[in-house]
């Protein structure tokens, strides 16, 4: 965990007081809606279909139990008793009142939580691997660098009014859980031949109406230089990014129009001219940030405790353990994923009571720490293996032990037309229907790892382009239709899915997805071949044939 000190807390409080003044000026009419819009967006406040939506940052996905309890409190006190975890390590509340927002922010600030830059054309919440610091084999804890970047990008005096939003993600593992290739800047921490720590810097990734996979702009930037290098990229983007057309204003378009080589030369030149402007992080600066991360006092525990051996006799426990429990870098401990994807539920939602209960379980079993991942699930990062059976029973009572992590019902979905003013079609009911269709755990197990991603519009908040199966809602003559893509992925081998054919009406989506899955089961060359690998091997044709032959 990172401990905010007096300076961090002061800054957050100063921000709350500024926003309180801005809300007051809006309510008195001193600020026009046009002026206020930008200011509220910079504080995570959207005007949605039915009410204001409030998006709160969970930097690099790490929460303390105290913070999670406060998120629950805000859900209960200011909203309708639940929150929605998003694909970018945020939590959203859907029914907040504008006049009460400053109070909600002040209550969050007391536990070191803020909503700064969770929206607007500035640098957004820095995201990272939800298993950071506990994943076996990672280069080092990427959250130290995430925090350095969080601070640097917060209220940046040059980059708070960029052409468009700007997202940075960091990973330090071979397996990318932070989806860095679909971010404006993706950072991959690694060591060079001399054993020094630095970053491969990727730039220009993103989804939406013009999707791109990020390209490597520089294979190695030393850790001490990462702030100046990122600043050079942003300065080039701020000056040359398009502002004439909102759809062409993202950095991916600039990179695409210039070409990565030319863009890289511009950045390199800016970086050289920049010289020493106080951005170089010497060893003591990095250590200062590192020193404020605390790590649990792990016990020396056996690899295979008796409690686990005994529980293995229970097939329900075993099913959950195999699905939801991942190896930890410390012997005797595990990382446990809590599925927020129950059968028939909206993906990523948690009630205030569930949040409180998870906070209690984190205190009891995970050194008071919780993680939030881009798949819209939670995780307890430090669970002693001997505690797994008890934890499982407790989670099961809370409806948080659905053993479907990474399976076909672990669906990523945006809120869609039910909440969002941008959406053309519903997302949540499609997800709910699919979780019912594939509710049989044996079938889901047999299918194996398969990511379904649903977006209710082209803006792609549900990351449909990179779903193994992607579902995109579109509107045709006032009716909801859905385009289906297959073969996308968001990991270290990220790529965009391929459209399989004409959009299908709402009522047929679940049938089509079932057809695709059945086709896969018939076509895979062995049970271990993942859906996405079968698509890679055979292309979309056989799936297309199966779906459209009878329609």
């Amino acid at each position: 965990m990172y401990a905010y000190d007096e300076l961090d807390r002061t800054l957050i409080n100063e921000r709350v007081s500024e926003f309180r003044d801005q809300v007051k000026r809006r309510l008195s009419g001193e600020l026009t809606e046009d002026e206020f819009k930008i200011l509220r967006l910079q504080n995570g406040v959207y005007l949605q279909l039915h009410a204001y939506m409030f998006r709160v940052a969970i930097p690099y996905g790490t929460l303390s139990s105290m913070q999670l309890r406060r998120l629950a409190h805000v859900a209960r006190r200011y909203d309708r008793g639940y929150g929605h975890f998003t694909t970018r390590q945020n939590i959203q509340y859907n029914w907040i009142k504008l006049a009460e927002l400053p109070d909600a922010l002040a209550e969050l600030a007391e536990v070191g939580i803020h909503a700064m830059q969770t929206s607007g054309n500035n640098m957004r919440n820095v995201t990272s691997d939800q298993w950071a610091g506990v994943a076996p084999g990672e280069v080092e804890d990427p959250r130290i660098w995430s925090e350095i970047l969080r601070q640097h990008t917060t209220l940046h005096p040059e980059f708070s009014f960029l052409p468009r939003k700007f997202k940075i993600a960091i990973t330090a593992s071979e397996h990318d859980r932070a989806a860095i290739k679909i971010h404006d800047i993706g950072l991959r921490l690694h060591k060079n031949a001399d054993g020094e720590t630095g970053f491969e810097v990727l730039v220009g990734g993103g989804l939406g109406r013009t999707p791109f996979i990020a390209k490597t702009i520089k294979p190695f930037v030393h850790g001490r230089d990462i702030l100046s290098y990122v600043e050079a990229i942003l300065r080039v983007y701020n000056q040359y990014g398009r502002r004439d057309n909102i759809y062409k204003a993202r950095i991916k378009i600039l990179v695409h129009e210039l070409g990565i080589e030319k863009f890289a030369r511009e950045v390199e030149e800016e970086w050289k001219l920049m010289g020493d402007v106080g951005l170089t992080l010497d060893h003591s600066a990095i250590e200062e940030v590192r020193s404020r991360f605390s790590y649990p006092a792990y016990e020396k525990l056996p690899h295979m405790p008796d409690e686990l051996k005994q529980a293995a006799a229970d097939p329900l426990f075993e099913r959950w353990r195999k699905n939801s429990v991942a190896p930890h870098k410390v012997q005797g401990y595990s990382i446990v994923t809590l599925s927020l994807k129950p059968v028939g539920g909206p993906p990523g939602d948690a009630t205030a009571d569930q949040m409180d209960a998870v906070a209690d379980l984190a205190d009891k079993y995970s050194f008071g720490e919780i993680r939030v991942g881009h798949e819209q699930n939670l995780a307890l990062p430090h669970v002693a293996k001997r505690d797994l059976p008890q934890l499982w029973r407790a989670l099961d009572r809370l409806g948080l032990a659905t053993p479907n992590v990474n399976l076909v019902t672990d669906i990523i979905a945006c809120p869609g037309l039910d909440y969002c003013s941008l959406a053309n079609a519903r997302s949540i009911p499609i997800a709910q229907e699919l979780t019912r269709r594939f509710a049989n755990h044996d079938t889901a197990d047999m299918i194996g790892r398969l990511h379904i991603n649903i977006s209710g519009c082209i803006n792609a908040c549900g990351h449909h382009h990179v779903g193994h199966i992607g579902i995109l809602g579109v509107e045709k003559n006032g009716e909801e239709f859905y385009q289906i893509t297959i073969g996308g992925r968001a990991d270290e081998n990220a790529q965009m899915g391929v459209l399989i054919g004409p959009a299908v009406p709402y009522a047929e989506v679940a049938d089509v997805i079932e057809d695709i899955v059945e086709a896969y089961l018939a076509l895979r060359d062995r049970p271990e071949e993942l859906f996405v690998d079968t698509v890679k091997r055979l292309g979309v044709e056989p799936f297309k044939e199966r779906v459209y032959a009878t329609r």
Partner: protein
């Protein structure tokens, strides 16, 4: 439109001269970049001070040769959501060492004062009287800053490291 300079509402001594209009023989003038670049040397020889309004779509490099002879550079925020001039301001101050008046013009609201001041602006053509009146108060809003810029404010990281250093020295 009130002008805030050195923290106070002041009278604008610069006369805005339109591109077609005749230049006064003396007195401080503020003219467009296009007009200035037509014949910079002649304009700089005038008896009065010269200020240039620089568009946010043009690199400041073209202005650099004249910086030490300019009394003011006005950068433009056509809307307050267009932040290109923040980069121009930092380049002028920090890279090119410009020390004259750096003026923010266009849609200038109190909510940008801190960002602008940190980027190097020291004069503000403020859109609303109430915002100009609130300048001093608004500038006191923040006491903690994360990024080093040319404004010299000490960053949170440096304050922490100083504190750490003094603690370890005291032990």
């Amino acid at each position: 439109m009130p002008l805030v300079k050195q923290g106070r509402i002041t009278t604008d001594l610069f006369v805005h001269v339109a591109d077609g209009a005749e230049l006064p023989g003396d007195g401080a003038i503020l003219i467009s970049a296009a007009r200035f670049l037509e014949d910079p040397e002649a304009i700089l020889k005038r008896a009065g001070k010269t200020g240039v309004i620089w568009p946010n779509s043009r690199a400041v490099d073209d202005l650099v040769p004249y910086l030490d002879r300019l009394a003011a550079v006005a950068l433009v925020f056509p809307t307050f959501r267009d932040g290109r001039a923040y980069s121009q301001a930092r380049l002028l101050r920090e890279r090119h060492g410009y020390e004259g008046e750096l003026r923010a013009t266009g849609q200038i609201l109190r909510d940008q004062f801190v960002f602008m001041s940190r980027a190097g602006f020291d004069a503000f053509e403020v859109k609303k009287d109430a915002d100009a009146d609130a300048f001093a108060e608004t500038m006191k809003r923040y006491s903690v800053f994360y990024q080093p810029t040319g404004d010299g404010r000490v960053t949170a990281l440096n304050r922490r490291m100083q504190l750490r250093h003094s603690e370890s020295a005291g032990q």
